[in-house]
Every structure is written in structure tokens, then in C-alpha cells.
Symmetry: C2
Subunit: 327 residues, 2 copies
Amino acid sequence: MKGITVKQPGGPEQLELTELATPKPMDGQLLIKVQNAAVNRTDIITRQGKSGYMKNPVLGVEVAGIVEDVTGNSPFAVGERVMGLVNGGGYAEYALMPVDRAMKIPDNFSFEQGAAIPEVFLTAFQTLYWIGKLTKHESVLIHAGASGVGTAAIQLAKHISDAKVIVTAGSQKKLDFCQQLGADVLINYKEKAFEEDVLKATDGKGVDLILDFIGADYWEKNLASIKQGGRWVLIGTLGGGVVPNVNLMALMAKYVQLYGTLLTPRSDEYKANLAKEFTEVVIPYFENGSIKPIVDTVFPIEDTAKAHTYMEENRNIGKIIIQVQGN
Amino acid sequence: MKGITVKQPGGPEQLELTELATPKPMDGQLLIKVQNAAVNRTDIITRQGKSGYMKNPVLGVEVAGIVEDVTGNSPFAVGERVMGLVNGGGYAEYALMPVDRAMKIPDNFSFEQGAAIPEVFLTAFQTLYWIGKLTKHESVLIHAGASGVGTAAIQLAKHISDAKVIVTAGSQKKLDFCQQLGADVLINYKEKAFEEDVLKATDGKGVDLILDFIGADYWEKNLASIKQGGRWVLIGTLGGGVVPNVNLMALMAKYVQLYGTLLTPRSDEYKANLAKEFTEVVIPYFENGSIKPIVDTVFPIEDTAKAHTYMEENRNIGKIIIQVQGN
């Protein structure tokens, strides 16, 4: 089969479409004929060799495709359309998916849309609900609102919790898109200090929950934006990973609950449970059309390097998808 | 009545025993004839004027004494022995206590012992259980094990949760005392890097929960000591309040749950609920003698300055008590 590997840790030019052995499913795994994979920041980090060196890894942590082979018990039959997280190997014609992580693609969605769901929607669901404990009518500040996880989180917070959704993004175009998805308060972080607008929108109290993909650059502003006793979920460091001079007394005085988290390195069991609850709670919103996966661009697998560059330049609104079959 | 006020923000020499108006209880308050008050770090911060300037404040946030007067409904009658948190004014012959925060002093305890209970045991209970969510047989790292909150937390974690209790302290004498209270692993932080012993005691995994009174000085070591997904409750900054560089990716990779908290500035309702649950859960352990308040020294009210100096020199094991009546 064909797949994308990394020649040496480095830039997008290190990605190579090459001939690989087709993987064989073991007990509890599905062999998926991959129609589409999606690009994630964790793929870029792996490509750069920053998450530990592995020789010529096959990138890709989420796919949508057709069940080609089943080993052991499975609720899915050969030929069914599924989507889900995989432990690497997604940018390839065939990939292995733990069966308890597979989710049926809603009938109203294409494979491209299916590939745009798992990572960002599961991350948004995990951070908003499992970690962030968002409840009805609370307020949530979502940074990078037009990103993959951002667009998922806006929709979940709005449709499931009727939350007051406050977003930041770097252009009017991105903010307009966030508004279409349901965001209530739109802040262009390039034009103003976002914490002022956040306080204005929350009667001076600050938000109940922050989804923070930015990290260091926003540390003080997030601290100013959170309410006393608020939850702050740290899931990315697009704005730097090291905060200088952190004032612990400020965290104490505000009773801040700060949660660091990542989804990719979590255990198989964790991901299976997350997929299960997600299927029960969120899939109905997909089926009735109220929540939608957001596909920005589809690149053929030969152009995977371009897809990486596109993400690294933050040009996308929603997901960047790779077309694996049918090129 | 007599009471201790602060002449000017500053050192212990600013404390003055003077004549004050006896306070009058309003609805929902008890007038307490104070037998004993206890010294807390928050008193020292107030004395120094670091928590906002108030003219000639009467210090003291916890007392034990006799109900002298009752206004409105009260489960306590005049003459009963009670202990509890007060909103300042504890270093005086009479103090006002919100009735829903008052707790009956167990019959087997003196007033001195009663005054040694509220702040440290409620803080230990709040941080271990309400915030730290300690469950049976988990492991907990308690810094400053011989401090007031430390000695309370060791006993609660041991008797209520049969936890593996790991403590740090700065002398063998203090560690011996922690061991008598039930601590399982004793680490002299002056002699070794505590994180190595913590990992050794937890099969290399790290602890489930950290009670951190130290802050900046221990930041990296605490990060090395906590297990993946562990809870870290930040309740003091004895070792500095500013961390020079915080690596957010390390918090994310370990799924750290960091909780900043303080008890004194919490709402009346919060303190009332805490006292209520504490009474139900912990008082029985006092009554059967398995958990004990730890009194280090009792100073007559005239020597309150000495009591403050004694705390500032970290010489105490357990609580420093002020004798108000009966001098």
C-alpha cells in the first residue's frame, strides 16, 4: 500500500509518499481502508522529531474509511463507514483502528467530513465536559476560535450547554465564521486587549471556563479573564510554552483550577470511553444537522507537504483533510 | 474589653493590648467570651499591612470560648463551649462568630485544644477532600508536615482515607513528630532532594495528591513528584510566590490538575458548609480520641508579640495559642 513517512526529522519537505507493508489487524482491531485522513498539530510535532525520535514514522492520528477486515468481536461489519482515532499510521491506504474507538459515520456526512470529526470534536468534548465540567448557561472563553478544536468547541458549548461563548481570533473573516457557528462575543486579539471585552461580557466577573490553546502569551490576560473559582484548561502552546514569573498568589487568590491535558498520549481505554460517551451525547446533533464538522481544504495525499505548510501558516478555518483513496 | 490591635503596619512590636468596645451580635451571630485564640499566618500578613490597609485592626481569625449571647435562632445556648472561625477580632475578650460556623468543642478537649482546631483542620479538610478529592489508599505528599495544617492533614489523610502519607520537614524532631501522627514516609528536605524519595515510595509513579504550602522553591520538584493526572493543591507560598519559568508543556504532558486556594477570603456560606460537613465527618474522630489537635505553646495575651515572632521563626510544631481569659 501507499503511505506517507518522514525521511528525517524536519520540515514538510521530509514527507515522502512511499510503498509500505499493509498492516494486519490483531484481536480488537479493525483494518480500515482509509478514504480520508486529517492533519493535526501532533503530526507536525512528530514530523519535526519533537515527540521522541521514531525511524520513518507513518503520520496520522485520525481517519475515515471503510471496514476492510475485522478480528474478534466487533459491532462493525466489513463494508461499514467508520471514523476514529488511530495510534499513528493514518496517512496511508490502510490503517488499524482499535474497535472500541471506532464510530459510525453519520449517513448525512461524507468521508471527508467524517475525517474532520474525531480529533477536534473528541478534544473539544473532553476539554469542555470531562475536564472543564461545563454546565448549562455558563460562560466559556475559546481562544483560536476558528481552529479545528475551536470550531468544534463553539458548536458543542452552544448546542449542548447554551453557554455564553466568547471567542478570540486574528481576523474578521475568522470571527465572522465563529459567529455563524454560534459564538456570542467576538474579539480580534490583534486589535484589542481581549480581557477587557471578556470582563465587559461577564459583568466584570470573568468567565467560568477557558479553553487555552495559546499558553504563555496569554497567561496574564487569561488570569485577568477568569472568574474566581473558574476552570482553565490548558491544551496547547501556540503562543509559547514557557511562562516567565508566574505569580502563585494570584492563582490562589482567584481559586483558579488549572488543568493541563493532551488527548493523543492518553490510554486506549480512555479514548474508548471518550468515543463511547461522545457517540451517545454528540452524534445525535450531527445526525439532526445542528452540529457540523468544518472542512477547510482537501489535499490529495501527494500534496501532504503542502497541507502541513498550510497548517503551519495558520491559514485554515476548520480541518485540513488528506484524500487518500480515489486520487 | 481588652484586645490586641496593630498600631502601624509592621513587626510584632506594633501589637498593642488595649481597651476596645465590646462588639454587639447581630442576627445570625454569637457573642463569644473568648478563652483562647490561635495564631495564623494570615494574622501576620494583616499585621504587616500586606492584605490591604485597615486602621488598627483587631487580629485573630479563630477562637474557642463560651457562648455569652445569642441573637436569632441558634443551635447553641448561652454557656455552651464552642470553637470556630471569626471574621477578625479573635485576639480579644469577646468576639462575634457567625452561628452557622460555630462548632461544639468535644467534651474531651480543653479550650486551648478547641482553639487549635478550626483554621488548620478546616483548611486540611477542605484541601484534602473538597479540593484534592483524596480517596481511600491514595498517596499524598504533605509539605511542612509539622506545621499547623500539616499536622492536621497527616491525621485526616491517615484516619479517614488510610492514605500513604509522605511528609517533608526541616528537622529530625519534626519528622519524628509527623511519624507519631501516622506519616509513612519522612523526608528531611535539608538533607536530600525530596522528589527522589517520593518516586521511590510510589513505585516511580509519583503521588496522587500534593498539599503545597511552599510554592516557588518546590515547583520543579513537585512537578517531578506528582503522578500523571495527579492533583496539586497550592495553599501557601512559604518558599516564594513567583516561579521564574513555568513549563506549560510539562503540566500538559502530566495532565496536572493544579488548584489554587485560600480559606480566609471565602464566603460566609462556604465556611458554614465546610464547618457543617467537617462536624459530621471529623468531629467523631476527635471524640473517640484518634485525631487530636496539636498545641505547641500557649502565650498569655500580653505576650502576643512573642507568639508572632515564634511563628515567624518557624519554631512551632502544631498550633500557637493565645490565652485571653484567666490571665
